[in-house]
Amino acid sequence: MRIVVVGAGIVGAACARALTGAGFDVTVLERGAVAGGTSSSCEGNLLVSDKTPGPELDLAVLASTRWPQLAVELKDQLGDTFPSIEYEPKGGIVVAYSSAGADALLTFAETQRQAGVRARTITPEEALELEPHLNPQIAAAVHYPDDAQVQPTIAVEALLASARKAGASVRTGERVVGALRDASGDRIVGVHTDHADHAADAVVNAAGPWAGEVAALLGAPVPVLPRFGMVLVTPRMSHRVFHKVYDADYVGATQSGDADLQTSAVVESTAAGTVLIGSSRQRVGFDDRLDVRVIAQIAAKAIALFPFLEQAQVMRTFGGFRPYMPDHLPVIGPDHRVAGLYHVTGHEGAGIGLSVVSADILLAQLTQAVAPLDPTPFALNRATLAPHLKDAA
């Protein structure tokens, strides 16, 4: 069975690997370069800590067990000379500095525990033991041992290298411009690009924030929109941040649909020794021009969390577009309007972490097997998406 995957970011790469692993003939079409979009403009979060109990958290909990297996699989498959995906099960620590923030955080953590997440409420002293350089005025702190990090660009390259070994074809610089439909018009039988026609038994839209554009070109609009975020990178420094650490504000930011600028402090080290500092959320379309006001806010909040950062330099910045759905849940599965078309997108700020389990769900759907998680909440025809979903052309 031939599959065309549109998009060579983390989701497209994860789908390509899962599908070739099951014996499908996969062609990945990428209009630019592999990992050229959001996947190379993010931090590589694999988090359970920031998700409200619900289907997305369930996905994240599953992902947290899948990634360490994947890291070993990829290393075995690709060998020691292939760059490491830097999978690090470092754990996360969420801190609140106000009593209101503390209340919200502790309540939230309790709901997560009910949902099966390891969320350890710790004392300020314990928090400072884990993170000695934290601002000590801690009102509340929760430790999430199952948060992890990966180097996202290398993860994409590794997933695709693995898929290539299993026979996947990856075509870069090739842009999808339309769908090939069967005589009835109700089934997609391939895609038309600026280079060639590719016949396929199924087409997977994994174009991230551009999945809306691709879906429209394929005649099956999907309301995924970009939410822009910036990250600051420091020079390499002595190791002073040991987990992914963020202000309890961050949870509020990920769950909201507010159009205005939202910033919250998220700080972590990388294997290279730099410190990544986020984060911001803005609905500015695809405008990634530098806005100093945004990074200034990020800087201020980061210093409030880790006072030593006052002296750290900003060496570079990058920004990426998170693909989000209006109801803040990803789409994984068939398009009910067009047979043969599948969408795996809308993961907002959790794409890296949720990519692989999303691909596993897609695989189950394509093979009529039992999915590792009930895919119903992620269906395109869910009630909460209906007001935003247009008819297919």
Binding site: G91, P145, M237, F242, A271, G273
Partner: protein, 109 residues
């Protein structure tokens, strides 16, 4: 064979006497003149490396001399990542070699 300051008596530009300054680096005091950069004072004393790289632990000192390569960075009075070739000495600076080891991966909790 060494790096050094042009001896004033032999210098074709005929320098006037200049005020002396000192910096401290790796337990030693180095003398220079007001107006020299940290790199200039170190080179005048035939110190050609003042940084150690993270991965290969290689010695580095001056490379581009104009502030674009960042090879020459040192810690000055506790502040890191200062380009030695661009920072003029005021006198009394405590200069430290930067050698930053990459972090070891954290253990799972």
């Amino acid at each position: 064979m060494s790096a050094r300051a042009v001896p004033p008596a032999q210098d074709p530009v005929r320098p006037h006497p200049a005020a002396a300054v000192e910096i401290e680096f790796e337990g030693r005091t180095y003398r220079g003149v007001l107006g020299q950069s940290i790199a200039g004072i170190l080179l005048a004393n035939d110190v050609v490396d003042w940084r150690t790289t993270s991965v290969h632990q290689s010695p580095r000192g001056l490379f581009c001399g104009i502030g674009v390569c960042f090879d020459c960075v040192v810690t000055v009075d506790g502040v890191s990542d200062v380009r030695a070739c661009q920072r003029r000495v005021r006198g009394g600076e405590h200069v430290e070699r930067q050698h930053i080891s990459p972090p070891s991966p954290s253990q799972e909790h």
